[in-house]
């Protein structure tokens, strides 16, 4: 996919400098939780607990004038009293107190802030003015700020769950979202499947740190292989596009607002001009950004792009134990522009030489209820070289299915109808970094994106 050759943007060089100092937000040596609480139902308690329970290695400084100790951590009356130099401050105090809190953080040498508190631009003119003040204070003190009005940041590679719920599974996709719940849902699904994420950021009102900063940051992040982005509108069109153009990693965007009602809802949620969806659509195409239509697609596409390489072409072979699922997959694949090519005669002849006589040797290749892991292996070995990618559909409890898949071959796995065996084999596959898709349609939609937006196959090392 070409990244829109025709578009020239002023290369202002400011973005690199800006995303450098996000390190204080993602990999701080120490963290203060300002507005920490001893009431378990409060966010100030949950976030402190999550930071501790996720295994943060550095010092944690709860700040609350009314407590001396929370969760067995010594609590400080104010950020000024902290007997150390917190690099990151997680701020959960009422909106009105946020600007002064940021100023105190600045005086203490804090480099990054995550402002969870709401009551800013999302809530009227007064909040808007508070947000401007907060931003001015942050800028004056050289503090990079996520939020306000956000669900925080989670970097499982740093034991930093400055967010909720507590999730710690490490993986390869970065989740960047204007909605806290969308971010949490993606990370939760990824954790359940055992693939995890490289980091999660809930951007909230994006007063300072926005999607352009984060694209730049995650493009340079060693753990991230694909970036999942939920936005209702970009904060700064040209900066976003410049960051997307520079990114070498696949970017998947879920952006609602196709309908007029959706656009109005987005504008009311984010208090920003969402703009016309048709123009976004064009810009995404022009800049090589993969667009998802649903939350599931955002997850599926990011998963495929993070864990699989781009096949060398569009020719796809289906090997399945379920005739129906082979048909469903082939139908969606063809609709997505993939090439459901017939088996070359030589391959068909070879397959007939060892397959039971009642098999229909075709593409999709239906191994029927007779399918075993060994049969899959034998068939794939014979047929794979005639295709660019093999879609392997396990439609039954195929014991040893995970052994069939070679992570270094272009293969996409769909597993369904396998109950406990499916769950066990799926876990094994995910543990090996092989993504598994739950339905033929979802698998094929993801494969189509892989063909268009995937990272190219790495050159074989000599």
């Amino acid at each position: 996919m070409l990244k829109g050759d025709g578009f020239f943007l002023a290369d202002d060089g400011t973005m690199t400098a800006q995303s450098d100092n996000l390190a204080a937000i993602f990999t701080p040596r120490s963290v203060a939780v300002i507005g920490a609480s001893s009431s378990p139902e409060k966010l100030g308690f949950q976030i402190l607990k999550n930071i501790r329970d996720a295994g943060f290695k550095g010092p944690i400084y709860p700040v609350n004038p009314k407590a001396t100790s929370i969760l067995d951590l010594r609590c400080f009356p104010s950020i000024a009293d902290v007997d150390g130099a917190p690099e990151l401050a997680v701020i959960i105090v009422p909106a009105g107190a946020v600007p002064a809190t940021l100023a105190a953080c600045g005086a203490k040498g804090v480099k990054g802030a995550i402002v969870i508190s709401g009551g800013f631009s999302e809530s009227g003119a007064e909040g808007e003015s508070l947000q401007r003040q907060a931003l001015e204070v942050a800028r004056a003190n050289k503090i990079r700020m996520v939020g306000p009005n956000c669900q925080g940041v989670n970097n499982p590679y740093h034991g930093l769950c400055a967010s909720w719920p507590l999730l710690t599974m490490q993986g390869a996709m970065a989740v960047v979202s204007q909605s806290g719940t969308v971010a949490a849902a993606l990370m939760d699904w990824a954790a359940q499947e055992g693939i995890g994420v490289s980091a999660l950021v809930s951007m909230g009102n994006r007063a300072d740190v926005d999607e352009a900063d984060l694209l730049e940051y995650f493009d340079g992040d060693a753990q991230t292989r694909a970036i999942a982005l939920y936005i209702e509108g970009v904060k700064d069109g040209p900066r976003f596009l410049a960051a997307a153009r520079r990114a070498r990693k696949p970017i998947v965007v879920l952006k609602p607002g196709r309908t007029e009602k959706g656009r109005q809802a987005a504008e009311s949620h984010t208090k920003s001009l969402a703009g016309r969806d048709e123009v976004y659509q064009g810009a995404f195409r022009q800049f090589g950004i993969c667009r998802a239509e649903t939350l599931h697609e955002l997850y599926d596409f990011s998963k495929a792009l993070a864990y699989l390489r781009r096949p060398s072409g569009r020719k796809v072979l289906f090997v399945t134990s379920s005739g129906g699922c082979g048909v469903l997959a082939a139908d969606v694949a063809a609709g997505e522009g993939l090439d459901v090519a017939p088996l070359p005669e030589a391959v068909a002849t070879h397959l007939r030489s060892f397959l039971p006589r009642h098999f229909v040797v075709n593409n999709p290749l239906d191994l029927t209820g007779d399918a075993t892991a060994k049969l899959y292996k034998d068939v794939i070995a014979v047929a794979k070289d005639a295709f660019d990618i093999v879609t392997v559909i396990f439609g039954d409890p195929i014991v040893g299915a995970s052994e069939v898949i070679d992570r270094h071959r272009p293969e996409l796995v769909v597993f369904l109808g396998g109950a406990e065996v499916e769950r066990e084999e799926g876990r094994r596959l995910h543990a090996r970094g092989v993504p598994v898709f739950p339905t033929p349609e979802r698998g094929m939609r993801a494969l189509a994106q892989l063909v268009r937006f995937g990272r190219p196959e790495e050159k074989a090392r000599p």
């Binding site: 829109g4 025709g6 578009f7 069109g237 703009g275 048709e278 123009v279 810009a283």
Partner: protein
């Protein structure tokens, strides 16, 4: 007033069609041959120079949707038809808007039939000028079958826009229909892209329709809004 490229009510200054056509022609797009006329006699004389059949269109800042005011008279085949059409246009304008200032009529050669496409420019609040391409008529009005790209575009982008619309097969040869001149559409899109870059005051521009042939194309109608000054009421 709604343009296919616009979000809704345009607030800027509406160019008269002769001005809009002149802008597009100066940019390098092929525009239908036309003259302006301020009387039935001038219209008949212009038609004679252009060659029949011709079309007459009302020229007035107060009448953007010309057909609502009987402001478009098509396929006029002789001087008598032009004279009668001129009077219908003037009567229609007066009925539509009693105080409408009418700056005469545009006399255009009738373009021979082809595939109607629409090309446009719009200004996006986030991304700046954007180009639009689609098939004309119901394809844009009902199905909203259009593709956008941000200015400036490359040749590759232009080709992708054309291929992206659902009606793309209608531009290809099939069942005795000839293939349309896609290279010319690419050139027009690139020209509009340059226009969008060089004229930031263009708020919205619709070329609808542009008639596309086996070879070449012709802009038959142009609407342009500029940002700034007050538009028509």
């Amino acid at each position: 007033m709604t343009l296919q490229t616009g979000l809704g009510q345009q607030k800027g200054r509406y160019l008269l069609e002769p001005e809009a056509l002149a802008m597009v022609k100066a940019a390098g797009l092929p525009v239908i041959e036309h003259r302006t006329a301020r009387s039935a006699e001038e219209a008949i004389s212009a038609a004679g120079q252009l060659g029949y059949p011709v079309a007459l269109k009302v020229v007035s800042r107060e009448i953007v949707h010309k057909s609502d005011a009987d402001g478009v008279q098509l396929d006029l085949r002789d001087a008598a038809a032009v004279g009668a059409a001129y009077r219908r246009v003037m009567d229609g304008a007066a009925r539509y808007h009693a105080d409408a200032r009418v700056d005469g009529v545009l006399v255009c050669r009738m373009a021979r039939p082809g595939v109607e496409v629409i090309l446009g420019l719009t200004r996006d609040p986030q991304f700046g000028p954007a180009l639009m391409f689609g098939l004309g008529g119901i394809f844009v009005e009902v199905y909203r079958d259009v593709a956008f790209r941000l200015v400036p575009i490359s040749e590759h982008d232009a080709m992708e826009m054309i291929r992206e619309i659902k009606g793309f097969p209608l531009l290809l040869a099939a069942r005795g229909r000839p293939a349309r001149d896609l290279a010319t559409v690419v050139r027009c899109l690139l020209t509009l892209s340059r226009l969008g870059q060089s004229r930031p005051e263009i708020d919205a521009l619709d070329l609808n329709p542009v008639i596309l042939y086996e070879e070449g194309c012709v802009v038959v109608d142009a609407k342009v809004f500029l940002t700034g000054a007050e538009g028509p009421s």
